[in-house]
């Protein structure tokens, strides 16, 4: 890849018309990797997207799914990618700033729409995937922990291992 695209600095963008591909070199000190991922994802329905390192920069190659596209299409693609990249980088910052409000509204919206679970749903709920950590044996019955009444507990009685300890 090596041909420049009209109106875009050659040090940033190059095009390969034979391959129907265009590449952009991204400065990761300006655009975090998450922004590069985010922008890339919005193009995978139209392009094959490849990322690679090029010295200090990240090289993004958009290869049009239709290899016969012209320079104007590639120009539009990489221009749109650059805009999307900027939007993703800025969005990451403002989302962090406004995270509390966005999370509060999201929780209310989803929680309100879902409503409380029914008894059937609670019964069907699968708790097994996240074992309950109980190193002190708080969830164990007194008998399980120290033996039945009348049985003498050893002096160094320790809680019996929980199910999660065994898994």
């Amino acid at each position: 890849m090596g041909e420049p695209l009209q109106g875009i600095p050659a040090s940033l963008v190059a095009v390969d018309l034979r391959e129907g591909a265009v590449e952009l070199k991204v400065d990761p000190t300006l655009y975090p990797l998450d922004a590069v991922y985010g922008a890339s994802f919005t193009f995978i329905d139209r392009c094959f997207v490849f990322l690679d390192r090029d010295g200090e920069r990240i090289r993004v190659t958009l290869s049009a799914k239709d290899r016969t596209v012209g320079e104007d299409v590639l120009h539009a693609l990489i221009g749109e990618f650059a805009n999307e990249l900027l939007a993703c980088a800025w969005r990451a910052k403002i989302t962090e700033t406004n995270r509390a409000t966005i999370e509060a509204v999201t929780m209310q919206a989803i929680g309100g729409a879902m409503g409380p679970p029914s008894l059937d749903e609670l019964e069907d709920f699968d708790f097994s995937e996240e074992p309950f950590e109980d190193p002190l044996g708080i969830a164990q019955s007194w008998e399980d922990k120290y033996g039945k009444k009348g049985e003498s507990a050893p002096a160094d009685a320790k809680p019996k291992p929980t199910e999660s300890d065994e898994t």
Binding site: S40, F41, F48
Partner: protein, 74 residues
């Protein structure tokens, strides 16, 4: 033959493997490892077919890597 390079800081090896598994029946792959990248050489009959297969594998590996990293950071 078409060569794909997956930089280790940008792609996760397990996700590249997963992508190759998904598309395994469409071509033959030769894998190699360099210090900073996984290399995949693809053969699939014709140049057009290899281009498409390489692209689909690239997109798939990228999508899986993003999903995996997002899960890890949340």
């Amino acid at each position: 033959m078409r060569e794909l390079r997956f930089d280790k800081t940008l792609y996760e090896g397990t996700q590249v493997d997963a992508a190759l598994e998904v598309f395994g029946r469409y071509g033959t792959f030769e894998r190699a490892e360099e210090a900073d990248a996984w290399i995949v050489r693809i053969e699939s009959g014709s140049k057009a077919r290899e281009r498409r297969l390489a692209g689909e594998i690239g997109n798939y590996a990228l999508g899986l890597t993003m999903k995996s990293r997002r899960g890890a950071s949340s």
